[in-house]
Assembly symmetry: C2
Amino acid sequence: MNNTTLKQIASQLGISITTVSKSLKGYSDVSEKTKKTVIDLAKQLNYTPNSFAVNLRTKESKTIGLIIPTLVHDFFSNVIQGILEEAEKRDYLVIILQSNEKLEFEKKQIDLLLNKRVDGILISLSNETGEFEHLKTILSHNTPLVLFDKIAKLVNCSKVTINDRKAAYDAVSYLIKKGYKKIAHFRGAYLPQNSIDRFLGYKKALEDNNIPYDSSLVYVCDNNMDFENGYENAKKIVNEHPEIDAIFAVTDLVAIGIIKYLNEVEIAIPQQIAVLGFSNWFMSSVMSPKLSTIDQPGFEIGKKSASILFDEINLKKNNSPVIFQSIELGTSIIERQST
Amino acid sequence: MNNTTLKQIASQLGISITTVSKSLKGYSDVSEKTKKTVIDLAKQLNYTPNSFAVNLRTKESKTIGLIIPTLVHDFFSNVIQGILEEAEKRDYLVIILQSNEKLEFEKKQIDLLLNKRVDGILISLSNETGEFEHLKTILSHNTPLVLFDKIAKLVNCSKVTINDRKAAYDAVSYLIKKGYKKIAHFRGAYLPQNSIDRFLGYKKALEDNNIPYDSSLVYVCDNNMDFENGYENAKKIVNEHPEIDAIFAVTDLVAIGIIKYLNEVEIAIPQQIAVLGFSNWFMSSVMSPKLSTIDQPGFEIGKKSASILFDEINLKKNNSPVIFQSIELGTSIIERQST
DNA sequence: TTGTAAGCGTTATCAT
DNA sequence: ATGATAACGCTTACAA
């Protein structure tokens, strides 16, 4: 049991709590001698400040909250790693919650974090999230908030993303340059901004290259955008549109589902149908064929988001004005075997 | 800003803080009438108790800490999900830290959690961890501790694992039953108990089936037990022991590395060499060929570990004696295409 | 250089 | 049924 308190040290040394506190915190108005005795005894008794008391006194928890849609997810796992790394540097701890792509959970979890009085909050929105009152609640509590990856453009806070539209545009342009002409798109659901932007990039690339946009070549995945979606839609499209020569998938997991199906029915990739993913999950590099994809720097997104959040926390502490940033991190095309 | 305090409510209502507190906490010795007024005003002012003060007063944080070796990891991600689910049920929050398979970090993070005064700690040990003083520190702080997956048998606390030895034994027996005779094993490093147990299971299965154990067929992966390890060791063994007809890998990631190499040099799986993994990562079901593996129930391990931890936290609160449990969850063989 | 005392926002004990 | 008061352990203005 380690429950040494300042009081105990003080009484053992026959001095006041204040002097003990000051000594331990390196204040200058304590004699070297007493300071030393205090520090020695503290060390000997294994003193650590009671964080509950410190929190109450300083009104900060040295903790931030993180809400992500799904944990079992290559991209988000990497984001978390980046966040944890930045937090550790600053002696901050991170409470992690999973919204499970549900708006309802997201709301509830925000309340939990606010009640816990975390010093800041990091969120990647659920695919369901189309209203933003709960985010504004965070702001009205004066708690720094940084949105990343799946953001709400309308909420007034810092944001860290990639340029989904441009990334998709480049991806499809690349496909066109490789000679593919009938390019289908398996897009995400209608809500998260990313799906929309990736779709828009796809469409624009076609148009800029004089390929007429054909909405019947766009298949919509449901909210999960998972393996099954890719598999099932691949089955459908092969039947409905045998003429396609490439599919641009909204995310790797969907692309992997596509590959799975094409492999099963022995449609050659990329000779008959090319497949291009998005996100560069580790998995995509060990598939057969290896999946070409867009690299989305999860780790850096995490680091940057956290670092902005901590900056804002500090600015707030000093009553300095904070200027919200919108950062876009770069992406790149990873060419492998599927295109 | 939501900083309503009991004091404010009290003064607005012209009653004492005590009465306000009691009303809000449903004590019986408050008149229905005042209780109602208090509750109404509290709701109107959006009162939420200051958790810092509550923590200080009650000496509990309603928070647990979790230390895992790696975050970008299918199995551990599933474990975390299980833990978060149990925590949420009980209105507990979870602080997550990553040891990165380093003993040094593990130690430091334990200190962080202890200083934070979390109500309990959940750990899966790093592959480096061969001494346990830091774990005993947790116990000496009287903080409930549950070890899962990678545990230390010698530490006196509850543990949740699978039976690695039996799982490996069954796995190799299955291989033998399928007719494989020269079975190699890519084992993990010498430290984590799992590696040892899986190796022991492998060895025992051979012996029980009258296949002489040949130590030259056992290749040791380094601490990371990753894709590269599988790939490189596969390259080596194909060269050094062309006679083998199966490889039992300590974990799926290693198995996937093996498959990758065998595919590249066009060694037929499983006709020439069969590959059996361990853990049943999602990835393994979308490989070509699909990987046969041992299902390790990550989600359940997480749930069970958390639930035991919360039980111990409650018992401790009631000053009831706690009896440490060692739970072993079942595994099963997932037969796919690689064996 | 050292110490007193107030206060952070609760909860709990004991009077009234 | 209600309230005064102390306490949790710390920080910090203000005295001495």
